[in-house]
Amino acid sequence: MKRDEKPSLMRGSHIVAEAAVRAGCRYYFGYPITPQNELPEYMSRRLPEVGGTFVQAESEIASINMVIGASMAGARVMTSSSSPGISLKQEGISYLGGLELPAVIVNMMRGGPGLGNIAPSQSDYFQATRGGGHGDYRTIVLAPASGQELCDLTYRAFDLADHYRNPVLILADGMMGQMMEPVRFPVLRDVQKLPKKPWTITGAKGRKSHFIRSLILDPGQMEEHNWKLIRKYEQITDQEVQYETFKTEDAKLVIVAFGTAARIAKAAVKRARAEGLPVGLLRPITLWPYPKKALRELSKHAKHFFVFELNAGQMVEDVQLALKGDADVFFYGRPGGVVPNPAEIARIISRQFFQKEIV
Amino acid sequence: MKGSIKIDSNLCKGCGLCVETCPNGVIEIGSQRNGMGYFYAVAKKTSKKAENGRGCTGCTLCAIMCPEVAIEVCREER
């Protein structure tokens, strides 16, 4: 992939927005909510420069439905919000799933439940990975942990969405959105050269008319549609799992963490390693599909897993499901928008080694 | 002016709006049920008004009012 020669220093929300534009996104519909307002602000300036359209909708519900419309008409389209706003968008995300429409949705998570606060949190893991809205559907969930990854995963999200005709969720947090890091962007993509989408509604010119709908009254047909979706999800699970491992080869204890928590966990691993403790890190990059096989593989030599999240314990369930009781799973979390430092996590690692007599 | 109508008995649900609308009373709800189970509308050969010499004129009012779009209308060209 060809990239800019020089890096740019930008905040996460701007990185996501620019990466989307580079990927061919020309339509953005959104509604302000802290801590991601810089994303729509950037789009309102940037999209007109590339012939795109920005609309500030009257609500999150309206914006996700505008996304549906633009996606039906064949565009690469995006919306973004933060936790309470994503709850409102869930109606539309379920429809995107049922209608099999590509779209990219960004959640810069904040502390919850309810209005919560605007501090960085990971409390929407369940909502993100279980679909979030009504019905049997999944969204592909990507969890970046750096500025460069915000860029690369956003860019890739559009291809994944189009390829599978499925919504893709970028799950970051308030800190990722606000933090600036150097990033090297892929060069602007030629929108004309993107793969054609024959299923869109663009007017019945030179072809039969068609329709896109998620209402299937006949239970038999609806079941068929569901199985079709499930088969697609299985294919995604087979092909799109992404994760990073760090010093896991000889690890007796493996930390599992994503996004911001994984950065802290990685630093904690370095500290613990300096103390001579055989500890490693597994960082899921795709939260759905989840790297279950990788976990099972690790459990062949690591019998202790330590799940660290900026919530009260959500991803830990996926780890338990993956390990099926074959290893000990310990959880430590900081909900509510607190971001602990690596020393705190390193202490917990040492304590685990001592208390559980891991050797 | 003379006209004629053709009611698609498979589409008609017997709502009777055409019967109400026809100025010359040449449509009635028949005594046969169609596949959907409705007594469907039929164009009468004769009616009280028709006997007075005023049959179907091809005015299209019945077709305009038909919710099922089940009526085709033909009219004699002048």
Binding site: P7, L9, M179, M180, E181, R263, I264, A267, N341 | -
Partner: protein
């Protein structure tokens, strides 16, 4: 090496651009760097701060619960950050605006009369770059030339501001250098 610096002051003092220029310079040098501005409701209160982390390896958290350096541009910032700074850390004070002095004895304090120095340049708004010049002279976190190229890049659309900021940067740098030599 991992050095975290908090820049704090009130809105309009250019606290965020100080941090941004430092982060940009670190990027030019190919260092790992994160820049985290304060955001949300906090910003509306009139105070502003940002944290810049510079390292030669991956940076875990951009947050500094115990910063190595704190740059204090006004009184409330002193109150807020004097208890957070790492023992042995360096606090840079804008001595023109900060009336109190830190109560802690386990930190190093460097005072710079930023507003006076900026005033001699005829540009009161450049107090932040005066401070940044002094800060760099003392910490050597990045090279002076990198900060200069960063300013040239960041302010390339605003020629006047660019010139003034470069001047102010040098004034602050020289001020700390002279003090060091005279000490």
């Amino acid at each position: 090496m991992l050095i975290k610096t908090v820049f704090a002051g009130f809105g309009g003092q250019g606290v965020l651009s100080m941090g941004y220029v430092l982060a940009y310079a670190a990027m030019i040098e190919g260092l790992q760097v994160t820049y985290l501005p304060s955001y949300g409701a906090e910003v509306r209160g009139g105070t502003a701060n940002c944290t810049v982390a510079v390292s030669n390896e991956e940076i875990a958290s951009p947050i500094a619960s115990t910063p190595d350096n704190v740059v204090v541009m006004n009184n409330p910032s002193l109150e807020k950050f004097q208890h957070q700074i790492l023992t042995g850390g360096v606090m840079f004070l804008n001595s023109n605006l900060v009336e109190q002095r830190p109560v802690r004895g386990d930190i190093i304090v460097r005072e710079i009369p930023c507003n006076d120095l900026a005033h001699t340049l005829g540009s009161d708004q450049s107090a932040n770059m005066v401070m940044l010049g002094g800060f760099i002279q003392q910490t050597s976190l990045v090279r002076l030339e990198s900060i200069q190229s960063a300013i040239s890049d960041v302010f390339k659309e605003k020629k006047k501001a660019k010139e003034m900021n470069l001047k102010a940067l040098n004034v602050g740098y020289d001020y700390m250098k002279n003090r060091e030599e005279n000490a």
